[in-house]
């Protein structure tokens, strides 16, 4: 019912409201990131409260932007790079808000929000018009496959941010120069624990995304696996995280090594996401 309402609202006053919402949320993410970075250096509690409120507001606008676009396009808006990047950022913020609610690590925002803003900024530079969906993509798998993939990638993005925080904190503790960020960064143990949990969340999501993608490919193109660059890189990413989990459980690779691996894994995620789309031609290029 609300979707219909949004469809009527969509071309409100000749302005595309989804773009309006998108730009509003991007500006708020920008201000929030700035405050979050200042907080990392100054450590005043008021700053962390301020940027959290801004992120919540930005997230509401962001959600409205996605919902209005969904109503206009009648499918999950993830079919061009603008939509996909914005949706990816949305998933990261969703996870961020959840972790912040659960663990209250104020300084997490200083590491995650700039990444979110960068994603929004690159998204904003991309063409935004809604094109008719190619018949190949018209399938209920679209929503399932992409949602799984994006949530998984968002978990890996968070693990990346947490991994960087771990390395900084571990550096402070090893070199015994305890100043600045040291006080505001949480304990190594909690960073390692959240990092591990995020990867155990992201890995099954990625696995399911690859499986649903294969099933979808079978129904759309008639073959499960075609060694398309996106598929290859997803598989490489999958292997990296499989190794992360394996060495952790089997060989006790935790802490610093786990943090470094989660950073390498995310580089692979980013390449799968952007690199493949921008550099290599393949059947995922519609995205």
């Amino acid at each position: 019912m609300s979707l219909a309402a949004f469809r009527i609202l969509y071309p409100l006053f000749g302005v595309k409201v989804d773009i309006l919402f998108f730009e509003g949320s991007m500006s708020l993410y920008f201000v929030a990131s700035l405050i979050a970075v200042v907080y990392a250096f100054k450590g005043e509690k008021l700053l962390s409260r301020t940027f959290l409120i801004l992120v919540v507001l930005a997230f509401i606008l962001h959600t409205l932007s996605i919902v209005t676009r969904l109503s206009a396009a009648s499918h999950l808006p993830v079919t061009n790079l603008y939509e996909a990047t914005s949706f990816f950022a949305w998933c990261i913020v969703l996870l961020f808000l959840f972790i912040e609610y659960r663990y209250r690590i104020g300084i997490l925002g200083s590491f995650i929000l700039p990444l979110v803003f960068m994603l929004m900024l690159s998204s904003s530079a991309l063409p935004k018009e809604i094109k008719p969906l190619s018949p190949l993509l018209q399938s209920s798998w679209l929503g399932v496959h992409t949602l799984l993939a994006f949530l998984g990638d968002a978990a890996f993005a968070m693990a990346f941010g947490i991994g960087i925080m771990y390395l900084i904190q571990e550096h402070y503790l090893k070199t015994k120069r305890l100043s600045g960020l040291f006080e505001r960064l949480p304990s190594l143990q909690i960073l390692d624990e959240i990092n591990y949990r995020l990867i155990t969340l992201g890995f099954p999501l990625l696995t399911l995304a690859i499986i649903t993608g294969a099933i979808w490919a079978q129904s759309a193109w008639g073959s499960y696996w075609r060694w398309d660059p996106k598929e290859v890189w997803s598989l490489i990413t999958w292997f990296i995280y499989a190794i992360v989990l394996h060495v952790r459980i089997a060989a006790g690779w935790r802490g610093k090594k786990a943090a470094i691996l989660s950073i390498i894994g995310f580089v692979s995620v980013l390449f799968t996401f952007f690199g493949v789309n921008l550099l290599i031609k393949g059947s995922h290029t519609f995205l």
């Binding site: 904190q169 040291f182 190594l188």
Partner: protein, 422 residues
């Protein structure tokens, strides 16, 4: 109506002298009464801690007052004045106010920023209130001192970060482990500092303490103290696999723990992080161990330099605190000045005159056209009412009674006159 501070502290007097002129609990109530019974000492508070003995007073005469308090201290403790005179400092006026604020904010403490002094000051104040030896001036001074100390605590970082080795160890442990309650601590060897560090860890949540010592009896003894478990010295390596924090302080002259051994332990515990504190001199643990993944080794020098860094951070913060104090001393002095009779007389007159003029204007407007003579009569009427009403308070304020300051304060309160006049 003069604030005076008279006392000794850890900088001016050695512990022996401080002990001799201290006012322990049972003597304090009596001393407060005896001191304020002296003519010319209108209010008094005695702060007596192990690092300082100070008397805060309100004296009538700035020339004779200090001598009276000195005489009181000397005769109360039967110590000749010459013995204490060198150690004794006397501060008056702005200096006295500043001193009290600095004491409350722990800027004058032996350990800069330590929090106990504020509590001790509050206790001394409460005792004096109980004995009714404070009045308007010292009450205000103490309340202000407490609020200044709180302001400094929140606006500066003077009380943050550990300034002792054992606290530094606890803070580090909290940055490695999220939850200390599930951690296991092992004391390797025994020393006062090691015990203290373990004690702080236990106070911060650690529940399991293991004690390894070359003499097993000593290990048992210590373990009993901590409600922990003694460990045979030759099996401590095996126990380390389940230990998260090790505090080492043996008298050994060489390393009791080598890199290879710790490597072996880390494999056994699947690389779970380990925090090793080596407070022995000479060091008992190979410093190379810090290079192992997930092992954090701190020796006594490391902890000392953290403490030093935190102390110099506190000194930097103390500069900010001094600025706050300077500001608050000004505010306090302005208030105190407003208690003088003369500005109160001026302010009260002004207030009455303002009201008279305003009401007169209203009345004349309502009455409409009046001739000059009629206006004069009405004006004279208002004048004489105001003057008659103000006469008794003015006489009281101008008189030479000893409690004029209280009168002035009361009048300001009753008439809602703020202490703005300087």
């Amino acid at each position: 109506m003069n604030i005076i501070v008279l006392g000794v502290n850890h900088k001016t007097a050695d512990v022996e002298l401080r002990e001799r002129i201290a006012f322990p609990g049972e003597k304090l109530t009596h001393a407060l009464k005896a001191m304020t019974a002296i003519d010319g000492i209108k209010e008094g508070i005695i702060l007596s801690t192990c690092n300082r003995v100070e008397i805060y007073g309100n004296i009538s005469d700035i020339d004779t007052g200090p001598g009276k308090i000195k005489d009181f201290v000397s005769s109360y403790h039967s110590i000749p004045i010459e013995t204490i005179d060198n150690a004794l400092y006397v501060k008056q006026g702005p200096e006295a106010v500043r001193h009290v604020f600095r004491v409350a904010s722990s800027l004058d403490s032996m350990v800069l920023g330590e929090p106990q002094i504020l509590g001790q000051l509050k206790d001394a104040f409460e005792k004096a209130i109980e004995m009714k030896t404070t009045g308007i001036l010292l009450n205000r001074l103490m309340k202000k001192a407490i609020s200044v100390a709180k302001r400094i605590r929140t606006e500066t970082r003077i009380a943050e970060n550990a300034v002792s080795i054992s606290y530094a160890a606890v803070e580090l442990a909290k940055k490695i482990f999220e939850d200390l309650t599930t951690r296991v601590v092992m004391l390797l060897g025994a020393g006062d500092m090691a015990e203290l560090a373990a004690r702080h860890l236990v106070n911060n949540g650690v529940r399991t303490v293991l004690v390894a010592n070359r003499t097993y009896e000593r290990a048992c003894e210590l373990a009993r103290d901590f409600q922990g478990r003694p460990v045979k010295f030759d099996s401590f390596l095996q126990e380390m696999i389940h230990t998260d924090i090790i505090i080492c302080s043996t008298g050994a002259l060489n390393y009791v723990l080598s890199k290879d051994q710790v490597n072996w332990v880390m494999k056994g515990r699947k690389n779970k992080p380990m925090f090793i504190i080596d407070i022995s001199v000479p060091r008992n643990i190979d410093p190379e161990i810090n290079k192992l993944d997930n092992v954090y080794l701190y020796d006594i020098d490391d902890l000392n330099s953290i403490v030093d860094a935190n102390l110099s951070e506190r000194r930097r913060e103390a500069e900010k605190a001094e600025a706050i104090i300077a500001e608050e001393v000004d505010v306090f002095l302005k208030w105190q000045a407003s208690l003088d009779a003369v500005p109160t007389i001026v302010d009260l007159r002004q207030k009455a005159e303002d009201i008279r003029k305003e009401e007169l204007k209203k009345a004349l407007n309502k009455l409409g056209s009046l001739d000059d003579n009629e206006i004069k009569v009405i004006e004279a009427l208002t004048n004489s009412i105001v003057n008659k009403l103000l006469h008794p308070p003015m006489v009281a304020l101008k008189g030479d009674s000893d409690d004029k300051d209280i009168l002035a304060a009361t009048i300001r309160k009753l008439y809602g006159i703020n202490g703005k006049t300087e």
